[in-house]
């Protein structure tokens, strides 16, 4: 048979020499290899204490954003749900009542906003689709859960802390990714 490449090497069928037959030399070589590995630096990191930095393009859990005055940005237009290839987002809209202007930025808001994290593929299309800069992906991932229903994240899980009431938590939730993005814009 014609060889496909010139990289093929013929298998050596020579009978083993005495040294090879004794195996001792080869075993000693193998033991030296394992001994070297014994002292090698381990690639593993001790995870919960020590975390690898996320890459700048990492897309993790969603966050529903607020504006500087702490009002929800989402207007329940449904563009994110439409853009979502995994159909993970559902929402119900409601009309802003008089007196709720300090809670919702637009006249329409999302009364219910759910993302199924088991369906979500973290592609970030919802973030790109959002005209109000209301939904974006953060630098965390969904923690494990015992039940499926634990992975359906409602508004209370997704909404960012209020920047006016709790600025520290707010900036922590904004994270590096969003901050970097705003710098580049």
């Amino acid at each position: 048979m014609q060889a496909l490449t010139n990289r093929a090497k013929p298998v050596s069928r020579k009978p083993m020499t005495l040294v090879e037959k004794l195996y001792m030399w080869n075993i000693a070589k193998g033991m030296m290899i394992t001994l070297r590995h014994l002292f090698k630096k381990k690639a593993t990191i001790s995870y919960p204490e020590q975390k690898r930095p996320f890459s700048p393009v990492f897309r993790g859990l969603h966050i529903l954003n607020r504006d500087e005055e702490g009002r929800e940005r989402c207007t329940a237009c449904g563009l994110c749900a439409l853009a979502c290839p995994a159909e993970a987002i559902t929402m119900e809209a409601a009309e802003r009542l008089p007196g709720e202007e300090n809670q919702y930025r637009e006249e329409k808001y999302a009364a219910k906003y759910e993302i199924n994290m088991l369906r979500c593929i973290f592609c970030g299309l919802c973030e790109e689709a959002c005209p109000k800069d209301a939904v974006y992906l953060s630098e965390t991932f969904a923690p494990s859960n015992y039940q499926r229903k634990g992975f359906i994240y409602g508004k209370e899980d997704l909404l960012i802390p209020n920047p006016k009431e709790n600025p520290g938590e707010y900036w922590k939730a904004v994270g590096n990714r969003k901050a970097n993005k705003e710098q580049s814009n």
Binding site: I27, G30, M31, I33, T34, L35, H37, L38, F39, K40, K42, A43, T44, S46
Partner: protein, 355 residues
């Protein structure tokens, strides 16, 4: 009756009891931490970190493992022979523990004015006793595998039996060569001779090597762990076992490893002799000398245990025919040659030849 009771030296009984309890608990403790170091060394060799969650550096891991084994449901298969099924792990454990009785663990110590020997029984057939008990260890495997009433277990038990029998021969032959040099079966005397002159490994390097390989086989350690071949026999002779009965089997393996390391250190590497130091010149140190000697023995043993683990995580398992070939065609002729050459030299020396 009363006079017979009075004739027994009560202190002697107490002394030996204390010694037995100490040695048994030390063996168990060492076996426990062998499991920990086995996992650690396996991990390091495979570029992993190993258990490091239970306690600092994971040193409580053996306790967690033991607790887990205790919590497991104890299952005795319906079709098994109940008596033998329970006897199996007990025998394995018993045989593993019994060997430690004739090992000299250190020199003499002085407790409350009594001279105490750090050896449970200084019998004059020490090595024969070790061999007898070690051969009994295979009954644990055989009975366990047989009583499980499972074809894989039975097959593993057969393998274990034939392996141990095959490798006991070269082991014994290599020891005969050693015994021709020492002229004694008494463990304490073998150690004493090595303290006074060179270690036996210098006179018997080939004998030591054969003994080492056979010790690997006797302990059912890789590359000779055919009775426990996971991929061919599911789990081997302890497949039907669960809970602490399984734990006993696993534990017996580690105790065997410890004991055979001790035997090797005692027979070939000078036992409790402190290397490069003339022990007799330190006699003024009293009990501290005995402690140092014990430490020296334990360091030697630790090196052997490390060797056991190092080999385990380097060399893959033999095929069954390779195992038998190595045993019968490789090691037995080699040890026979070793024996004959040693015998010739001993004979020539005793007839006045100078070397």
């Amino acid at each position: 009756m009363h006079s017979a009771l009075l004739a027994i030296d009560v202190f002697f009984v107490i002394e030996k009891l204390v010694l037995i309890i100490a040695i048994v608990s030390i063996s168990l403790g060492i076996a426990m931490y062998e499991t920990y170091f086995e996992r650690k060394i396996a991990a390091w060799i495979q570029d992993r970190r190993g258990p490091n969650r239970a306690g600092p550096f994971g040193i409580l891991q053996p306790l967690a493992d033991g607790l887990k084994l205790f919590m497991k449901e104890e299952i005795i298969p319906n079709t098994s022979n109940r008596f033998l099924f329970i006897l199996g792990p007990c025998l394995a454990m018993l045989a593993a523990m019994m060997t430690s009785a004739v090992i000299p663990w250190g020199g003499k110590i002085n407790v409350f004015g009594r001279e105490m020997n750090l050896q449970i029984a200084d019998i004059n057939i020490g090595i024969l006793y070790v061999f007898g008990v070690v051969s009994m260890g295979v009954y644990g495997i055989m009975i366990g595998g047989w009583a499980s009433n499972n074809k894989f277990s039975l097959m593993a038990a057969l393998r274990g039996a034939s392996q141990v029998i095959s490798y006991e021969l070269p082991m014994g032959l290599s020891l005969i060569a050693l015994l021709m040099l020492t002229g004694s079966l008494k463990m304490s005397e073998i150690v004493g001779q090595q303290i006074d002159s060179w270690y036996n490994v210098l006179y018997q390097p080939l004998g030591f090597f054969i003994f080492l390989v056979c010790a690997f086989a006797e302990c059912n350690r890789t590359p000779f762990d055919l009775p426990e071949a996971e991929n061919e026999l599911n789990f081997g002779y302890h497949q039907e076992y669960s809970s602490m009965k399984l734990g006993f089997y696993l534990f017996a393996e580690y105790i065997n490893m410890f004991i055979s390391s001790v035997v090797m250190a005692t027979l070939f590497w000078g036992g409790y002799d402190i290397p490069f130091v003339n022990d007799a010149s330190l006699a003024g140190w009293g009990n501290w000398l005995a402690a140092l000697q014990g430490l020296a023995l334990f360091i030697k043993v630790a090196i052997f245990i490390f060797l056991f683990m190092w080999v385990r995580w380097t060399i893959p398992r033999f095929r069954y025919d390779q195992l038998m070939n190595l045993g019968w065609k490789g090691l037995i002729p080699l040890s026979l040659i070793n024996m004959i050459v040693t015998a010739a030299i001993v004979l020539l020396k005793s007839n006045g030849w100078k070397f």
